[in-house]
């Protein structure tokens, strides 16, 4: 990866990636506050520290591709191009949310963007992704399906069944494991007899690689190459994105299972500061540019909050809508 990651970067491209990561970071930090203010309720899983994975991956995918995500998906949704306003409204539970408010933080959907959620069952999205890829195959479409899941999902039976099925049937699935070293309070080495996740793909005949998930360029290039290979040869690829979650698992997590020092060490390798340092070092960005990007991101978040605040609630009389389709298929 390294040398790819070092290939010449243009200012536009660098700023674009940084902008996206700053938008997600600003969004997540604001969510943290809003949870304290009880504007957002239920479970809230923040993405701080993992921004490079969502941004690099989405930049390398095409709009026709399908995306299947997890309950830690604000970053995926925003990087996919779902407006902050509709995501924030969803976290408020408002009718203008991307799931009409019915889903909340763990269930963001956008059919038009082929963003299939938002799944709160660990590993529950993998079979769905296999099916979306199967549909593309049977419909002779070139779209691939990108499926995000965490290191914890690797222990589930559905990981095993889905990888085998995707490889056996040569389906265009890109398995993207966000390995942030913990599943709630369970460190990877206490969940897996063998902790090298990318190595787990080979027995299924699936090509795999580990990627520095803190380097947005590395992610973008690895996903780009993988997507290309999948479109060319058919058949799945697995990428292990090595990353780290800066905040607690959820808002209820006292973090008894890891120490500050470890967190701080990772924060030094954070995707935003490293990219910022790099762009400045390469003379592609000034401190002023950075300030502007951050200011714009915060402004966009504030607009999203206002939108959410002002949006209407779904009528209680509509409670039972959407359990079944309202139109024939």
């Amino acid at each position: 990866m390294k040398q790819d990651a070092d290939t010449a970067v243009t200012r536009e491209h660098g700023l674009d990636l940084l902008r996206e990561m700053l938008r997600i970071r600003a969004f997540e930090d604001r969510c943290y506050q809003l949870y304290g203010e009880m504007k957002i309720r239920g479970f809230l899983h923040l993405y701080n520290g993992e921004e490079a994975v969502a941004v690099g991956a989405m930049r390398a995918l095409s709009p026709a591709d399908a995306v299947v995500s997890t309950y830690r998906e604000h970053g995926h949704a925003i990087a996919r191009g779902i407006s902050m306003s509709s995501v924030m409204a969803e976290l408020y539970g408002k009718q203008t949310g991307c799931s009409r408010g019915r889903g909340g933080s763990m269930h963001l959907f956008d059919a038009a963007k082929r963003f299939y959620g938002g799944n709160a069952i660990v590993a529950g999205g993998l079979p769905i992704a296999v099916g979306l890829a199967l549909a593309a195959r049977l419909r002779h479409e070139s779209a691939i399906t990108a499926c995000f899941f965490g290191d914890g999902a690797v222990a589930e039976g559905e990981f095993h069944e889905s990888l085998n099925l995707a490889s056996l049937w040569k389906l265009p699935v890109l398995f993207l494991c966000e390995n942030n070293l913990y599943a709630m309070g369970t460190a990877l080495e206490r969940a897996q007899a063998e902790t090298d996740i990318s190595a787990k793909a080979r027995p299924y005949g699936i090509e795999a690689a580990a990627v520095d998930g803190m380097d947005v360029f590395a992610v973008e290039q690895a996903v780009g190459r993988a997507a290309e290979k999948i479109r060319r040869d058919g058949g799945p690829v697995l990428l292990e994105m090595r990353t780290y979650r800066f905040r607690a698992h959820s808002m209820f997590d006292p973090q008894l299972y890891r120490d500050k020092a470890e967190i701080e060490a990772w924060q030094k390798k954070g995707p935003i500061i490293t990219l910022t340092r790099r762009l400045k070092a390469q003379g592609l960005m000034t401190e002023g540019d950075y300030q502007r990007l951050e200011r714009d991101a915060r402004a966009e978040v504030e607009a999203a909050v206002r939108f959410a605040e002002e949006s209407p609630w779904e009528a209680v009389s509509d409670l039972e809508r959407f359990v079944y389709a309202e139109h024939a298929s």
Partner: protein, 337 residues
């Protein structure tokens, strides 16, 4: 309409009817495909899909490995992706391994997404006991599945329904589970002339009667018709109502029949506690309490994992003899007084 002599229509099995339904749907709609364990080269564990691999090829008649959760989930995903999958879970007994996909994904995606997504997948499952397959292979869980909002549950019990319910299910934008009682596959009969489609929602009176309503579905329908014939010999006219759809239930048909007969016996092959029969009984109480001349009775399966030996399995399952005596009790009005 003038009915022509039955000879003029071929006698087919329930199995043939489901196969024809599958073939017809696949010929009519390229989005339809069949996926499941041994549906292809083996021909289906109950031979339902025999010959279809040769006709449609391995892409559309897709043998799946032993991975119930993954291939059921893949059916859900394929439905999201624009296909109309028919997923065969060899028997309901194995569907437990896919229950997370069915309950947490198929049943919830439409609502969770605010109506953006639909999951038009059809899942076919063989269900029921009576073949001495013992505790792990004799479940009747269709009534249990009927607890889950977002799913439609139906049980074809006749040759016509075996032939046409699949089409109705495929036309539904919602996930549909079709439960086929393994006892019915060899049942022979003729398609009703002129019938070319059926709906998925309505119960059907299979035998009219005035004295008591036997409410049932699936494999138990034929046992109830047998019981009704026996009762007729003593001048008791039992109405037999085939629910057909277990979710949603056709309350109107249930209540209309019970208002007529003022007595009801609910029969299902599920374990008694928490059975579909309990739900039907409760709806009758909620909607027709003052029309009842006797407490509603239910005849279900004994609360045991189904034992292997025939005499014990028979003792565990609902039987016409039990319906007849239940009917006598209800009509004598000597309920729980």
């Amino acid at each position: 309409m003038p009915s022509t002599p039955p000879e003029s229509r071929p006698v087919i099995t329930y199995r043939d009817a489901v196969r024809e339904a599958t073939r017809g749907a696949m010929q009519a709609d390229p989005r339809v495909f069949l996926m499941g364990e041994d549906v292809g080269r083996y021909g289906g564990s109950y031979a339902v899909s025999k010959g279809l691999l040769e006709e449609f090829g391995p892409e559309r008649i897709r043998d799946a490995p032993l991975s119930e959760s993954a291939f059921v989930g893949a059916g859900i995903g394929a439905a999201l992706g624009g296909m109309r999958p028919i997923v065969e879970i060899m028997t309901v007994n194995f569907s437990l391994l896919a229950l997370d996909q069915i309950l947490n994904n198929a049943a919830t995606l439409s609502h969770m997404s605010g109506g953006q997504l639909n999951v038009p997948v059809v899942i076919r499952l063989a269900t029921g006991a009576g073949r001495q397959l013992a505790a792990q292979h004799s479940h009747s869980l269709e009534g249990w599945y009927a607890h889950i909002p977002g799913l439609r549950i139906a049980a074809p019990a006749t040759i016509d329904d075996a032939r046409f319910m699949l089409g109705a299910a495929l036309a539904s934008p919602d996930p549909v589970l079709l439960f086929e009682h393994l006892y019915l596959y060899n049942m022979e009969g003729q398609l009703t002339r002129g019938v070319e489609r059926v709906d998925l929602d309505h119960a059907a009176v299979r035998r009219p009667g005035r004295d008591v309503t036997l409410i049932t579905y699936g494999g138990s329908l034929h046992k109830c018709l047998t019981a009704a014939a026996d009762l007729a010999k003593d001048g008791i006219e039992a109405e037999v109502l085939d629910l057909r759809s277990l979710r949603p239930l056709d309350d109107a048909a249930i209540i209309a029949s019970v208002r007529r007969t003022r007595r009801a016996i609910v029969v299902d092959e599920g374990w008694r506690s928490g059975s579909l029969a309990a739900e039907v009984t409760t709806r009758i109480v909620e909607q027709a309490f003052y029309d009842l001349d006797a407490p509603v009775a239910r005849v279900c399966t004994a609360e045991v994992p189904i034992p292997y030996p025939k005499h014990l399995e028979d003792a565990a399952l609902p039987s016409p003899a039990r319906f007849v005596s239940a009917a006598r009790v209800v009509i004598a009005g000597t309920g729980a007084r």
